[in-house]
């Protein structure tokens, strides 16, 4: 079975600091990769996704993620965080083709101090 690891469970940053959240998965085949965000009091929403092509994908609100196949990683980055980026971030993986059974990481709680 596939698994997803998010190494940073809690991250605290000051505004304007750079952000990188790690995500590693265990499945060796072709995958679809997602980052979801949950702002306080809101539902989970898609931040960005990767299916194929350019391994550097750009999402909403200045976020980007890079798929490194050799490292089974899909790390999320933002050059300069804002207070409004305070949220819970989830990495998710699904297999390409076949039945759709997505696996989520346990999440990273990001707090940005103004």
């Amino acid at each position: 079975a596939q698994s997803v690891s998010q190494h940073n469970h809690h991250v605290i940053l000051s505004e304007a600091a750079s952000l990188e959240l790690g995500c590693n998965y265990s499945y060796g085949g072709t995958v679809n990769l997602f980052w979801y965000v949950q702002y306080p009091g809101q539902h989970l929403q898609l931040l960005l996704k990767y299916f194929s092509g350019d391994p550097l994908v750009k999402g909403i609100k200045g976020f980007e993620a890079e798929f490194i196949k050799s490292k089974f990683s899909f790390n999320l980055r933002k050059p300069s965080v804002q207070w409004s980026d305070t949220a819970e971030y989830f990495c998710a993986v699904s297999r390409s083709g076949g039945s759709y059974i997505p696996t989520f990481g346990r999440g990273t709680s990001l707090i940005v101090h103004p």
């Binding site: 998010q6 759709y100 059974i101 997505p102 999440g107």
Partner: protein, 114 residues
């Protein structure tokens, strides 16, 4: 456009009881998935339904069941409730339920078991 709607928002039950949670997908979406999210963890996949048929099932006991109706809405049923079933239950919809389609999440139903 209305997003994914779930009802009820909160529910309190006692051990051994049965519960039914409801979900209406985004208009035009034919696939509905259910997740269980325990505090401090990421969403864990329970079921996916597409065109009224079960397409995927996570590692949950038979006490958990679901169905999808002709209008694509869905119900999740849990029998013989245990304390460990206390969680946030999320419903998500997507157009076709394929692995490369992101999920659109509702706000969830908070289930508390006493």
């Amino acid at each position: 456009d209305a997003g994914v709607t779930q009802s009820p928002t909160h529910l309190i039950k006692t051990r051994g009881q049965q519960v039914t949670l409801r979900c209406s997908p985004i208009s035009g979406h034919k696939s509905v998935s259910w997740y269980q999210q325990v505090l401090g963890q990421g969403p864990q996949f329970i079921f996916q339904y597409y065109e009224k048929e079960e397409r995927g099932r996570g590692n949950f006991p038979d006490r958990f069941s679901a169905r999808q109706f002709p209008n694509y809405s869905s119900e999740l049923n849990v029998n013989a409730l245990l304390l460990g079933d206390s969680a946030l239950y999320l419903c998500a919809s997507s157009p076709m339920g394929q692995g490369n389609q992101p999920q659109h999440f509702g706000d969830g139903t908070r289930l508390s078991i006493l």
